[in-house]
Symmetry: C2
Subunit: 473 residues, 2 copies
């Protein structure tokens, strides 16, 4: 097989797509829902629906088979029943259509002999006819810049993240999550059972793609672990790879067998994999998104010293705990910084130092900018965390102003060389607080400053960034 | 000193409160903000503002000193400058006012000799005059049923949680958080530097209080660690104690010194403490609230088998991983359960088993109730997790109905003896999704079924509940 470097472009930038297996009856998951979504999101290329019954759908002519199409599509999305898939692949080969996404499930993941035989047949046909096949049992390629967004965030947001995944559902969710915070996805692929193309093929492709700065993976299994290890070792030196390995536990591994039909491998093997490759290990959707945000937006930290700016004694203590648990130091500040703080912080009810416990930072953007400037100058400090408070009834100050616009202005002008993140705690059952929190997070993230809903999550994401750049396994 | 069992009632159910040190100038934190808040929340007792300059505030006469009051208050809230506190305590003793909350800061936590001497003077005066003193440097008592809610959630929600805390800020936040999800607080106390009364005094009081079912603590330090250990060992057998120890890390411990003026103790000591007492260890605000919710709402699990109900292969795998990491099994279901599932689950695209990967559970409340019923009957299952999906554009189903009202109806009628929780993932920057998620969480929690924003958080909270009842340290 050729190197995927340009060959895969047809998956992500197809100008003509055949959707094989569109039902003309009720809207349901499959070929017709893919077709509807592509039209909804304004896909500008040609779409050729295929179904032996012919007719018309959404104003498009339905062709009875691939042979009848007026031109050769760049990509086929195959949504027919599992037993019909081999015949469709043969038809693809006949017309020279080599890029195929098989959405259909019912193969190895069923753990039944019929499914296994059918999947082996797919692998054999691909080898015989030099077909590029994504799947089966997956959602396939996704690319906002081509408006190829039949799943995932619609219309999506283009950016510098590349996603390689064995879960369409988690990837769909991740693209939504990231887009809503202003982080764009360059290309994503949900590749399911990997009967032909596996994670390593997409990794090679995305490593060579200059539009992709951060590579993100969700894997349940891998066909050639040594190859993945070798590639990840080399690629992760220049492009961070953030991997969520599903099936980390015995129960999860057993489930993975029936999800993508492959052995997940033991936890020990994967622990060694992370250590040997420098790949970043995450274990949940939020950790995944939080970490992607840090790698997408922040400069490399030059050290593990963190300056924590906020108010409240308990907050100061517990934010320090959270960052310490992730390997950060909360070092004493320089004499210059302390001299300024001592002048401006009252003796009682506040604490001048690191962490800085000073409620004024919540409401006075000019004061906060002065404090930040000290932090950016202070040689002991390599990272800054700003705890942001949303003023509300329970607090004992009257007319607190929201300093957010001024703080964002300052940070945007300043473009600090030291990673600067915010924590905005708004969890619970208060929907007004939740909306205020989401809006604030979005504003800061879109301005380039990751804002996390808790100190733990901020510390964990920044910890991954620090250890990656410091080459600490 | 007498046992606190009834003596402390005056702290939480005072009918007459003196606020010593109300400024009549601009609204600011201190005596006047306490007074405003008490009036705002409809405190029904008498309030006596005290300030040598006399005058009037919010229609209330200001008395020049405690001696001039027409009757002896049950409680004094002392908000004068630190140096004036000893004289106020002497005045309290003179009129027989023995329950005192000192809000003022500027004592041991300043780490300066003046503050240390002043705090020693408080301790000495309390011993000499048999005074009950909360503080200094704290927010004091909080009790929604008495409308004593000058801080924290206002007006608050009464319930069965008791909170003993060395952080007013974190407790304020916790009461808000819990109230918004329908979990009420019986009594809370923020006790600061503990110059006189310490956590053990409040623990004894709340252990004997039949209105309190779950005891919740935030501690940075303790004066008599052996006493706390002995009491916690005994109390936690019948009432769960959920403790967040601030200053867990070196940096956090150093900060705790300047917050509440006391040594936090090493992490090793506290690890041993948790192991020996059965006290539940939490390390963040969300873990605290999540765990309180589980202990407040759920029955004791009879085992560690969990049935995971949801849809999506990646979700199924990773939710299994999350529960496995917390010591749960995801066991095979009984033959009866499997026979039902095999009949109703299509071969391709779903997985019949545990976890159950079946999108229909997201939209069909009748089907979900049938599945739940099987889980409640299945002997391998002791806990149930329902993954709840909010339908939206990215998904490939057309007219999904929200089954929430029917699901809540069923659960409310059914009153399952097996802990049943929900996960509702709505994180990110989408404010509509966030609001929908918060509203759903609130509805389920208020109906008595904890709903968590992620599988990790659900698993962690349920893990604490399981280990507590199974007596696994």
């Amino acid at each position: 097989m050729n190197s995927p470097s340009t060959d895969f472009d047809k998956f992500f930038n197809p100008t003509r797509i055949a959707i094989v297996g569109v039902s003309t009856g009720d809207y349901k998951f499959g070929g017709s829902s893919f077709l509807h979504k592509l039209l909804d999101c304004g896909y500008p290329g040609k779409i050729y629906p295929v179904n032996p019954r012919s007719g018309e759908i959404k104003g498009l002519k339905i062709y009875p088979d691939l042979i009848s199409l007026p031109e050769v599509p760049d990509l086929a999305i195959v949504c027919v029943a599992a037993g019909l898939v081999p015949a469709i692949l043969e038809a693809c080969a006949r017309i020279g259509l080599r890029h195929i996404h098989i959405m259909t499930s019912g193969f190895k993941e069923t753990d039944e002999s019929e499914g296994r035989l059918l999947e082996d047949r797919i692998t054999a046909l691909a080898a015989a006819h030099d077909l590029r096949i994504i799947g089966p049992n997956c959602m396939g390629p996704y690319c906002p810049s081509s408006k190829l967004t039949a799943w995932g965030a619609i219309p999506g947001l283009t950016g510098s993240v590349g996603i390689i995944s064995q879960s369409g559902g988690l990837t769909q969710r991740l693209t939504e999550y990231l887009a809503s915070l202003g982080i764009g996805v360059n290309k994503a692929v949900s590749f399911g059972n990997a009967a032909v193309l596996d994670s390593t093929d997409f990794l090679e492709y995305m490593a060579a793609d200059d539009g992709i700065q951060v590579i993100v993976m969700y894997l349940e299994s891998v066909k050639d672990a040594r190859k993945l290890l070798r590639m990840a070792q080399s690629i992760s030196r220049s492009k961070p790879i953030i991997l969520w390995k599903g099936g980390d536990s015995r129960a999860g591994a057993a489930t993975a067998v029936s999800h993508t039909g492959a052995l997940a491998g033991s936890q020990e093997i994967w622990t060694a994999f992370y250590r040997q490759t420098g790949v970043i290990r995450v274990q949940s959707l939020n950790e995944w998104a939080d970490t992607i945000m840090a790698f997408s937006l922040l400069p490399a930290p030059r050290g593990n010293g963190v300056f924590i700016i906020g108010g409240g004694g308990g907050n100061s203590v517990t934010i320090s705990d959270a960052f310490s648990r992730q390997g950060f130091e909360v070092p004493p500040l320089s004499e210059d910084t302390m001299n300024f703080l001592r002048r401006s912080v009252p003796t009682a009810g506040s604490i001048a130092g690191n962490p800085l416990d000073m409620w004024r930072t919540f409401t006075d953007s000019v004061y906060l900018a002065e404090i930040l400037e000290l932090g950016y100058q202070d040689p002991a400090i390599s990272n800054i965390v700003i705890d942001h408070l949303i003023a509300r009834k329970a607090f004992h100050f009257a007319n607190a102003l929201d300093p957010t616009p001024q703080v964002i202005d300052y940070l945007t002008r300043r473009q600090p060389a030291k990673p600067t993140v915010l924590t905005i705690d708004t969890d619970g059952g208060d929907s007004e607080l939740a909306v205020a929190g989401v809006r604030l997070r979005t504003r800061f993230c879109r301005a380039g400053f990751p804002a996390y809903p808790s100190a733990d999550r901020a510390a964990r994401a920044l910890g991954h960034l620090y250890r990656y750049h410091a080459k600490i396994p």
